[in-house]
Symmetry: C2
Subunit: 506 residues, 2 copies
């Protein structure tokens, strides 16, 4: 009875956060331009009210009763897990003064305008003051949240709980050691031809084919839809309504196709969460104040990268599905065989822009950002020295010279909106995807499915081991249960080495 | 300072109610079917929180400070009007116990499912028990709200403040007296041919033409958009984002065209509200808990009916715009001249279904509903006797026999969702539209504009006299300022008599 009233209260927090997500989806897909200013106010109000509803006296009273009522249940059962998570989230938010949250949101809102202009003008100097303020505010935030070793750990906690500057060091070292020689070897080989991918592929057919593939992977359109947007994303409003978006470039076909498979991976995580967790904290990120079923940003990214790269960019996938693609685009793909197509969509080419990077170079973009963010936060790097530090790392990791700040340090939106601490998720997602795919394909049903264009067994394996658990277990608990190990880059490195040796004949 | 903090608090209430409206728009235009259950919960939470935020101690504290601070300002100025409206709304909501609000929402939610099935089966008996409960709950609500003469007055207050059973009697009598003879005379004449309107008009072109006309009337698509839905509506999320919807029937072209002009009239009311009122109580219905700038449902309907009927169904409009319509649909409109088209879209035909009724018979559908609702609420009519009473009134007002309850007493959704007291708005809107259009066309600029397909002067007249004021003045204050009189059916009856005598040669 008390526990149920507590759950209903948490359902209201989930409702508020889902409402906020719906407003964000609408703003990025449907909203007419005039709506931007008042929409920003509506979003700000929902965030504040969700936070206030969570930390309110009434919630704490209900939590205490629920804790008392469930005290004799197993500590790792659903009820006590939920109570513990809510208590932790309340304490987390109460450590951060409302004025700091407000100030950070304000600077983030102003920052985005300043950044957009600075990026267009490639003028780091005009963005530097607001970035300085953002870094200061994030340092204050880190002090409020608390940490053991490094202030950056406190900032990563919201996105990737448990990950620290120290824990990332051996992971990044292993990736550098495994990937730099591979990248060097590839650079000496003839790249596969990709010119045919720049032919004009009609937009409507691209969307139709991409959605067909998404459905094939398990995306349920009775509980979702695909729309166009500028910066693609996936968003859920409970598992019953999980939407994906894409961006279509009629001169670079892989963008919408693999982008859709990527968002599909995210969507499957949400659509196949245990229905019993709907509207509960096990489907609500109460730290980040975001209605989501995935347990960490990295875990979420593991699903998008798995379906995009391990499935969607595999030779096997195209051996089975290329006929359909060529049937859809007979003129554009005339004379292009499966092997040529598969090699083309896996071409490696170190570039300056993170969001355009390929499977193999992506992690270097991540590493340089994490290292730079940590240094900005601990003060070992100052904002005025940032462009130089950025350019040096791009040279070191990617062998490229950065011609201007627009293509360098000004390229990402994150800092302009006040966000620091989220980049490591992308690499953790990659590593987890490798580890999970290796484990899943030890299962005969999964392997046979993949060999016959039947993706249900793979989706079911992921649902059984990942999706259904929502936020009940930590990322490393999930990994241990699913693969017998915590985060480990071995499978991922093996996958990349095998695949790219094959493509490039190394 | 205190007043500003109070306004910001009211801005949050407006944000919450706008968020609710966005969720409703999405549910009716974009949401995949699976999302319905959790969306209903999200909407319920937002309603409760908006109400709680309004009546909270903190709001009352801020209101008291704002009242003290503005006590020396003019009583009819913006500041004190806002304070008075908020105080009234808080008192209104505090009179209604939360348990009653909750119970009514619950019965409304169950009621809609039961009604949908009952209507499909034309089985009034299965809907009767939940209707009985709805009537009882609305009676309780009326007792809580309070009234002077008739409990139904308390229920109408939310939609049409100031209107009462007694005030409607002379209005309805005048309409009956003016319209029944006209209707009888029309029944003796040859109806204009309408068969060509049933030809297939391509959906995309219908939408494009309708939106073009909406823009011509002043609808700003930088602050709005047109989408498809099942039951068309207009909804605003502040004046900066005002959306309209339509339903396209490819076998009855007038539906989407005049439906769009109708929603355009609603949209203009919201889009041209004074920008200074954005997020304030002057753009928020704090009694009905709905983010809307219009001062009453009837006043809102006056704008939709004015642009749909007085502009869109006028001979002058089609003399100027029919060429463009025929250019869009040359095959479908082959051999049809302006006069034939204009007469066809104004054909009078008494029918059983309110939402399909023409300009002349609509008010009879309204009157019978208002009379029946009032009788149900005061107990002079019992639910078991309802179908018989309904059928007798349809016979009396429209001269039609009701073959079954599906086409009779079960046709409207309102009661199933718990709503009683909203029907009079439609007729008040018609009457007001007549009165406002007559006043506006005394202005040379407006008349010259209409004669030259320039609808800006008319829109500006309405903005000057109606739109911009938001909820600052009562409906009758607005009418007096704009036309020199409170609600008066003379102009409306004159309009109908003149127009239909012309069309039918009476």
């Amino acid at each position: 009875m008390g526990y149920n009233a507590f759950l209903e209260r948490m359902g209201e927090v989930n409702d508020l956060l889902n409402a906020e997500s719906i407003l964000k989806w609408d703003a990025r897909t449907m909203m007419p331009p005039g709506g931007a200013d008042t929409r920003a106010k509506q979003l700000a109000t929902l965030t504040v009210l969700a936070r206030d509803h969570l930390v309110a006296d009434e919630t704490r009273r209900l939590l205490e009763r629920a804790e008392a009522e469930t005290a004799s249940l197993p500590a790792d059962g659903v009820e006590r897990t939920i109570c513990a998570q809510v208590r932790e989230a309340i304490e987390y938010h109460l450590r951060i003064p409302a004025a700091l949250v407000h100030k950070r949101a304000e600077v983030g809102s102003i920052g985005q305008h300043i950044w957009a202009k600075a990026r267009a003008d490639s003028d780091f100097g005009s963005f530097a003051p607001v970035l300085e303020e953002t870094i200061t505010l994030n340092r204050e935030m880190a002090e409020c949240i608390g940490y053991e070793e490094h202030p950056y750990d406190a900032l990563m906690y919201r996105f990737e709980p448990g990950e620290t500057v120290r824990s990332l060091q051996p992971l990044f070292a292993a990736l550098r050691e495994g990937l730099l020689p591979l990248l060097k070897a590839i650079g000496e080989k003839e790249p596969p031809p990709v010119g045919f991918l720049e032919r004009p592929f009609p937009v409507a057919s691209q969307l139709e084919f991409a959605l067909k593939m998404a459905r094939k992977l398990g995306y349920d359109t009775d509980r979702g839809r695909l729309d166009l947007t500028v910066h693609p994303f996936e968003v859920s409003f409970t598992r019953n309504d999980v939407r994906i978006t894409t961006r279509v470039n009629d001169e670079w076909m892989p963008k919408s196709l693999f982008g859709t498979l990527h968002e599909t991976g995210h969507a499957l995580y949400e659509q196949y969460c245990d229905p019993a967790y709907t509207r509960t904290p096990l489907a609500t990120d109460l730290i980040g104040l975001y209605a989501v079923g995935g347990v960490s940003f990295g875990a979420h990214e593991s699903q998008s990268r798995l379906f995009e790269n391990h499935v969607g960019r595999s030779r096997e996938f195209w051996e089975l599905n290329y006929g359909e693609l060529r049937g859809t685009f007979p003129e554009q793909l005339e004379g292009i065989d499966t092997e040529t197509f598969w090699r083309a969509v896996n071409r490696v080419q170190p570039g300056l822009i993170r969001v355009e990077s390929d499977e193999l170079t992506y992690d270097f973009h991540v590493m340089l950002r994490v290292e730079i963010e940590a240094a900005l936060i601990d003060g070992s790097l100052s904002v005025p020295d940032l462009p130089e530090a950025w350019n040096a790392k791009v040279e070191e990791y990617l062998g490229l010279e950065v011609p201007n700040d627009r293509l360098g340090v000004l390229q990402d939106v994150h800092w302009s909106s006040g966000q620091v601490g989220t980049f490591c998720n992308y690499t953790i997602g990659n590593v987890m995807a490798g580890q999970l795919f290796a484990a899943a394909t030890k299962d005969d049903r999964v392997r046979n499915g993949l060999a016959n264009a039947d993706y249900l067994p793979l989706r079911e394996w992921m649902t059984e081991h990942i999706h259904r658990h929502g936020r009940r277990y930590s990322r490393d608990q999930l990994l241990e249960m699913a693969t017998g190990r915590t985060l480990d880059p071995t499978d991922y490195l093996e996958h990349l080495t095998r695949k790219y040796s094959d493509i490039y004949g190394i």
